[in-house]
Subunit: 200 residues, 2 copies
Amino acid sequence: MERTTPRERRQAATRRALAEHALRLFAEQGYEATTVAEIADAADMSTRTFFRHVRDKDEAMFAADEDAFADVLRAAAAAGAHAPPLARLLHGVRVLAAAAGEDAEAKCARERVLEENPALRARDLAQQLRWQQQSEQFLRAQGVDADEASLAAGLTLTIWREAYRRWIAVSAVPGALGEFLDTVAGELPGQVAVPGARSR
Amino acid sequence: MERTTPRERRQAATRRALAEHALRLFAEQGYEATTVAEIADAADMSTRTFFRHVRDKDEAMFAADEDAFADVLRAAAAAGAHAPPLARLLHGVRVLAAAAGEDAEAKCARERVLEENPALRARDLAQQLRWQQQSEQFLRAQGVDADEASLAAGLTLTIWREAYRRWIAVSAVPGALGEFLDTVAGELPGQVAVPGARSR
DNA sequence: GTCGACATGACACATCGTGCCACAACGACG
DNA sequence: CGTCGTTGTGGCACGATGTGTCATGTCGAC
């Protein structure tokens, strides 16, 4: 059932507000030029309280994403254990694709900020790695072989990233991200068919 | 011909020394517990000079890796433009596998440090992304279609990471990394064959 | 109304990273 | 021989980040 307490809801709202203000300020005046005090001011809190809600300045921008991934695994579980591991995970990330389509403008702004700030890009990649590891654990919990689970999770992330890249390249046309996921997944066999294991 | 000036060689040596001391100190006493002053002391320089050789504390550990990737693209170019894009890049990363086999202990220590410090892990991922982008540009310069180049570069990185993970899992047995590369590449067709593009 | 758990603020503090100036080594040039 | 410019380095001050600690406020339970 997953009841959420008022306290949890209030904290989630605070994180969402922090993420919005951080993204806006970073986009407007740059990451380095924005101080923690400014973000905290925008969100009506002291800097000390700021650091109680997010670990550091970087995390302000990603604070809201933390909770977005549980839906992916829920959808993946709904795909059923009869499907191939990669297909299960792909079914899950379609949920993420639908959610991203909701606020395409924010995703573009976010991507511009990541582009210009290697530190934030690094943070983003680290978050994706955590998602990959959670996906791998999910598959293993469903009985998938360890190596196969790891590779499938890695491939899923690669497909997601490539589809996302193409989606941003076309200015995040609503709904197109899901189609790109299918397109990229369809290109995989052609990529891997020939080279393979030249086992000596 | 690529002649290196004495100045360049001296700076490279300094970066290598910084990387060794940083990795050792991070492994011994932890990343957070190690101050810039300690690393600088170990390398016989002031903190001010430390920041003239590396951008920040993180980069101290990665300072030596910067130059390692050119060899990969050289080897990839040697594979010839008749091979499929993925095969070309895989041929390149085998060079990296051979180099990594030289100092397996250092790679294990490094991996332990990365494991325990999300900030360093993030930095590592960002470096891998830069390599991926350079690989993509390399393929495009060879006439490969943009989307195909991007996907091939992403797949290569996924294969590398999975092979590297398995190599570390067996305590970096000398020479095994190259074999893992072939193994993982050989598993790809089985992973992608079935799920593919369920185009509606 | 009182109590306890929790959120917040204020202050001090260590550390990080940079701007600026000073000093030393070294070669070029008159 | 002396002066200049370049390069590498250290010292110092400073803004900014992030944390420990204590004090205050808020809110529900009783």
